[in-house]
């Protein structure tokens, strides 16, 4: 059952990810990205990371992608115009892709060679309580630094937006 659902949602995630690149219309690409985020949330949920799954759904699929779609709709972006691909891209595209994939596989294999395969249902500490406890004890400094970083980003965004209004 777990393997079936894993395969299903991994497949959906892959198809959606490929679709993001293949689609010509920005809205279609953005919605495919929503599909990727939602299937990722399901995969997190199956691995026992409930809080991360729901955060993925709320933050990425719910908030960030709604903003993407909103901006695309507001600018009323049409279908992309494709020019002919350059000969460099035609010649090197596939070999470069294969090389990248091979490198990724090699490094993943080398880094995680000692660990066994993941079993569904093994991990249960993915609720809000353990994550909150970890964030406010072991990882307090990174957490606070991240908040300051986000605050700086917000202030920066407001400064930029104000400049445009003058």
């Amino acid at each position: 059952m777990d393997v079936f659902f894993f395969s299903l949602f991994a497949f959906i995630a892959l198809i959606c990810a490929i679709n993001v690149v293949l689609q010509k219309h920005p809205i279609s690409s953005a919605l495919s990205l929503v599909g990727v985020m939602a299937s990722l949330a399901v995969l997190y949920l199956m691995l026992g990371a409930e809080f991360v799954a729901m955060a993925q759904l709320i933050v990425y699929a719910g908030a960030i992608m709604v903003l993407f779609v909103f901006v695309i709709m507001l600018l009323n972006a049409g279908v992309e115009q494709h020019k002919g691909r350059s000969w460099v891209a035609r010649l090197l595209g596939l070999p470069a892709f294969v090389a990248l994939l091979g490198l990724l596989c090699y490094f993943v294999q080398r880094t995680f060679s000692g660990t066994g395969s993941v079993k569904f249902g093994d991990f249960t500490g993915g609720g809000a309580l353990p994550i909150g406890a970890a964030l406010f004890t072991d990882y307090l400094l990174p957490f606070e630094v991240t908040s300051v970083l986000i605050l700086i980003a917000i202030v920066g965004a407001i400064v930029l937006a104000r400049k445009e209004m003058d």
Binding site: A63, V69, F70, M73, G127
Partner: protein, 406 residues
């Protein structure tokens, strides 16, 4: 296997009841608004217009679905179903009451074991987050409908809706977070259970009264944001008739049009259920059972039956002589059912939950009949400059008080 069968039965039951309730919610809304405005409301189809929802459903199903030539067909057709889908998912994790225990019984020679089940489809231990996540996804239905219709009014409606839902999700999440601090869990059932019990033997420990930080302010903020999230008056800018014709669903007809209405009413029920569970103590009664709270709902039902019977015996209109006694019999029957001892532990919590839910839904209708619509800039500045800071301050004070007590 037993789990599967029980779940399927519950699924069928909840779907049937919920769909019927959605259809009749519209009847209630029309009737209440009519009486607020001193009109009759629907009264032609069936006694007191009670068959009006059925007639509406038949009309909407059999009408021709017009597919305008200028729309983006795939998204145009997907949008209403996305909206309904997202609206209906949330109801699967709402607990309606405590638990059902059916002792073992024999059917056709085989013994069916004692059945013990909770009154919800799934108890998710991050239930509150799931509600927030799914309601956040619900905006895609409306935004896509507005965009794919290829119509300026629809596009404006869709844009307004997305902007409004993003803005009001913030104060709503902050208002939801405050009672969570006191409850210490994210499961909807756990939150409702944390509000059991009474202070001094009679003041309920509902979140809006709970020490050390009563959440009345958070409840008010939550309800205001809920109105905006469900696109209801006074925040129904996405479908403002006098500015946008009908907003995001201006190009929709027949079933696809009905789908948006269904999604709106389903969202209303979900958001009111969450409000009940988080702030009004779920199924816990207003005062303890030892002081007779089990008899309140049967008494209300019996009272309604008595009123119906009185008006049936002194009819104002000719057909009241036949319809009102039937209603009286139904009310008396329900009251008797609720007093039948084996059913009391199941029906009393359910009835209290439904009573609170009905009160909040009535609030929605009442406000629709009362308040005018906001202007768009007022809507945005209200969310960002008033609701958001107040919700944040409330969260801070709650966190401080909870930490102080522990």
């Amino acid at each position: 296997m037993e789990f599967l069968i029980i779940t399927l039965v519950k699924l069928a039951l909840i779907t049937f009841v919920f769909m019927t309730a959605l259809a009749y919610l519209q009847w209630v809304e029309r009737k209440v608004i009519a009486h607020v405005q001193v009109r009759m409301g629907p009264s032609r189809v069936g006694p007191h217009g009670l068959l009006q929802p059925l007639a509406d459903v038949i009309k909407l199903i059999t009408k021709e679905g017009v597919l305008p030539p200028h729309v983006n067909t795939g998204y145009y057709l997907a949008a209403p179903f996305l909206a309904v889908f997202m609206a209906l998912i949330s109801i699967s994790i709402i607990p309606f009451g405590t638990e059902i225990n059916i002792p073992a019984f024999t059917v056709a020679g085989t013994t069916v074991g004692p059945i013990h089940t909770m009154m919800e489809l799934a108890n998710v231990n991050v239930g509150v987050l799931m509600i927030l996540g799914v309601s956040g996804m619900g905006v895609y239905g409306i935004a896509l409908a507005g965009w794919s219709s290829n119509n300026k009014y629809a596009l404006l409606g869709g844009l307004r809706s997305s902007a409004q839902m993003i803005s009001y999700e913030l104060p709503m999440s902050l208002a939801i977070a405050s009672p969570l601090l006191a409850a210490g869990t994210l499961s909807l059932r756990g939150i409702a259970d944390s509000q059991a019990g009474y202070y001094l033997g009679f003041i309920p420990r509902w979140a809006i009264f709970q020490m050390p930080a009563p959440q009345i302010l958070a409840f008010i903020i939550f309800m205001i944001a809920a109105f905006a999230e469900t696109n209801r008056i006074p925040f129904d800018l996405p479908e403002a008739e006098n500015e946008l014709v009908a907003g995001f669903h201006v190009e929709y007809s027949s079933m696809t049009f009905a789908a948006f209405f269904m999604a709106e009413y389903a969202n209303m029920v979900t958001v009111c259920s969450v409000g009940t569970l988080l702030f009004l103590g779920g199924w816990h009664p207003l005062w303890p059972a030892s002081m007779g709270s089990n008899f309140v709902i049967p008494a209300i039902l019996a009272g309604s039956g008595a009123i119906c019977l009185y008006h049936g015996l002194n009819p104002a209109r000719p057909f009241d002589r036949y319809t009102l006694p039937v209603f009286a019999a139904i009310f008396f029957g329900l009251a008797a059912l609720m007093l039948y001892p084996p059913l009391v532990p199941v029906l009393t919590p359910l009835a209290w939950f439904l009573a609170k839910l009905a009160f909040l839904l009535f609030l929605f209708v009442w406000i629709r009949a009362t308040l005018p619509r906001f202007r768009y800039d007022q809507l945005m500045s209200f969310a960002w400059k008033f609701l958001f800071p107040v919700a944040l301050a409330n969260l801070l004070i709650t966190g401080f008080l909870v930490a102080l007590v522990q």
